[in-house]
């Protein structure tokens, strides 16, 4: 009984009191409940792919949103992960729980191989160089078509689980676990891991970070490796879920989609990437169902994107978060915006906003 009360207290004080966490909890529970309400394989497929792309978009966010190393070729990691899982599966009959970690490690290695020379470059030079790598790899894939399947890609990868529902649960749980790891990795307020705050420092001002005695190259490589690992996980899951891997996993449009989702949701917040994926990806798939709008769906998509960015350039999730949450000025605790006094130290929350417009 006391144990239950303890749990009740945790939920009351750590979740219900903080709207952002409440939303995250409701979101997670509803993700778990989706297969209970619908057996429609199409809807299940959309949400499975959304979970995979959420890992992918969040991994882009680790590298670009937090560390500020603009990467326009993120599909490289996804593609390397997907292709290595498919090749390992087809040639060595490795099951998914072995091939996906190996594929992710391959993606990390590729990330390090390109990261070491690429980190001599800064800012937009880095952005435009990273753009090149997936295209180069696509060229190589086409050239060695016997081994890689060329334009057709590789087919016949073993399925992840027997039923769609099981693979949905595996993928969703992998997603939640990966997101938690990435969130902890990049958490700037963490007490025991200082990677997060260092990555922020590198993004804000690399020279100052370096002159404060931080080996920025090492941390940038670490960020490349972490981001590559999770993008590789996403690619591997994609390979075993779709059971076919083609050059489309390396396309520029995949990277652009990840960027769209992340910026739409709000960059430098892992949850922003997830928000973006879970809103935009199902939206465009469902629009496709209606023949009247399916012709206009990309136009609609582009317009939604343009207007969102015009009116909330910091991203949807941050915009909403700033509306529903308020930080106490005295104790820095997070409160729901409708409260008048802080729930922890009972200081008044809504002071007259005269000075500045600090977020």
């Amino acid at each position: 009984m006391g144990y239950l009360y303890w749990i009740y207290n945790i939920i009351r004080n750590e979740f219900v009191a903080i709207p952002g966490r409440m939303i995250a909890l409701i979101f997670f529970v509803s993700l778990l409940l989706i297969p209970a309400f619908t057996g429609n394989p199409y809807i299940l497929r959309i949400f499975t792919l959304a979970a995979i792309f959420a890992i992918f978009a969040a991994s882009w966010d680790v590298l670009v949103g937090y560390t500020g190393q603009i990467n326009l070729g993120h599909a490289l990691f996804f593609g390397v992960g997907a292709y290595s899982v498919a090749l390992l599966n087809l040639h060595f009959e490795l099951p998914a729980y072995l091939s996906i970690p190996l594929g992710s490690i391959a993606a990390v290695l590729v990330g390090l191989i390109i990261g070491i020379p690429a980190l001599r470059l800064r800012g937009f030079y880095l952005a435009l160089v990273t753009l090149a790598f997936p295209i180069i790899l696509t060229g190589i894939l086409f050239f060695f078509a016997d081994f890689t399947g060329g334009e057709q890609g590789l087919t016949g990868v073993h399925r992840l689980a027997l039923s769609r529902t099981t693979s949905y649960y595996i993928i969703v749980l992998t997603m939640v676990f990966s997101l938690l790891l990435m969130y902890k990795f990049t958490d700037a307020g963490s007490k025991w891991l200082r990677v997060g705050i260092i990555l922020h420092a590198i993004r804000e001002d690399e020279i100052t970070a370096r002159s404060s005695g931080i080996n920025t190259t090492w941390y940038k490589l670490l960020s490349f490796a972490c981001s590559g690992f999770f993008a590789g996980v996403a690619g591997g899951l994609y390979a075993v879920f779709m059971r076919t891997v083609g050059p489309s996993t390396l396309e520029l449009s995949l990277t652009f989609q990840a960027i769209l989702w992340t910026i739409f949701g709000g960059s430098a917040t892992i949850y922003g990437a997830v928000t973006g994926v879970y809103i935009l990806y199902p939206l465009i798939e469902f629009l496709n169902l209606y023949p009247v709008v399916s012709e206009f769906r990309f136009i609609l998509f582009a317009l939604i994107l343009i207007f969102t960015l015009l009116f909330m350039p910091e991203g949807l999730s941050r915009w909403i978060r700033d509306k529903i949450e308020i930080h106490c000025t005295r104790c820095k605790g997070i409160n729901i915006a409708s409260r008048r006094t802080c729930r922890i130290c009972s200081a008044p929350l809504h002071l007259a906003k005269t000075e500045g417009s600090e977020r």
Partner: protein
């Protein structure tokens, strides 16, 4: 074979050079990484097509219209969209991708996916060392040279050019010196759009026109711009011809080379950058804070 490589290199170089100049101009002045730049080029091509085939205007009028309308379109995009989000560099990039997508889908809806042709400005061809050179090729190259001279004149000899160079070097200081940076950015966006239109005018008759034609030059012009050094016009032109040559040579000399052509030119870019991180003609901002 050799003459074919020369001719195709020159044509590819001309397109990439004009597009890359526009792309790097607006990047230099307003720090806008305009992914919709090649989409503007595509729109200009379709404006020529509409004017010629649907309204029935003479070709030279269509060409002028294409350049002017594309410049105006670019300025509208700047005023309505880029100017409002320019503080967030990443948002600017995403918005430009969204704009490019918008143009692509509008054109796809109106004209479908089948490729279109535009008749050449000057019909006819002659034989040059065994390969066919149309007069349009000659015309493209000649007008390209004229354009380069005009840009050189604009940037070096006129007051506007001086202002543009000042803004791209340091927007804050030029603002303090009494330059209206937003207006200069708007004008530069217009010039950049006009250049995209010009590229369409001189090269679209050599190729087919379709609604996905913006993607493949986009990657190459980014490579060109990086290879030459961001913001350097001379670098862009030389980089364009280097990559144009690499792509053409690989796709003509190596079997199955058309798959590898993009890969080879981008590898060249990466090799150059590893040796010289600021590009061939870029200025080394060793400790620059963006």
């Amino acid at each position: 074979m050799l003459s074919g490589i020369i001719v195709n290199t020159l044509v590819a170089g001309v397109i990439y050079a004009i597009l890359a100049i526009g792309f790097s101009l607006i990047f230099g002045v307003a720090k806008i990484l305009n992914m919709a730049h090649t989409a503007l080029y595509m729109v200009a091509g379709f404006i020529i097509f509409i004017g010629l085939q649907m309204i029935g205007l003479p070709l030279y009028l269509c060409d002028i219209l294409a350049i002017v309308l594309t410049a105006i379109l670019a300025m509208i995009c700047y005023r309505l969209v880029f100017d409002r989000v320019k503080i967030q560099t990443s948002a600017v990039m995403i918005i430009s991708i969204a704009l490019a997508m918008l143009f692509q889908e509008l054109l796809l809806m109106q004209f479908g996916a089948q490729p279109r042709q535009i008749p050449p400005f000057i019909p006819g061809y002659f034989e040059f060392l065994g390969s066919r050179v149309t007069y349009q090729h000659i015309f493209s190259f000649a007008s390209f040279l004229a354009l380069i001279c005009a840009i050189w004149f604009l940037m070096i000899k006129t007051r506007l050019g001086k202002i543009i160079r000042a803004v791209s070097e340091d927007p804050e200081v030029s603002n303090l010196m009494g330059i209206n940076v937003t207006r200069i950015s708007l004008i530069t966006m217009g010039i950049s759009g006009g250049l995209a239109g010009f590229a369409a005018v001189i090269v679209v008759p050599l190729f087919t026109l379709h609604s996905l034609m913006w993607i493949s030059p986009l990657v190459t012009i980014m490579a060109v711009v990086v290879l030459g050094g961001l913001g350097s016009i001379k670098g862009s032109v030389i980089g364009a011809f280097i990559l144009g040559f690499a792509e053409t040579a690989v796709s003509m000399l190596v079997p199955l080379g058309s798959f590898l052509s993009g890969a080879v030119s981008l590898t060249i870019m990466i090799l150059v950058l590893i040796i010289r991180p600021e590009g061939l003609f870029g200025v080394a901002f060793e400790e620059e804070r963006l």
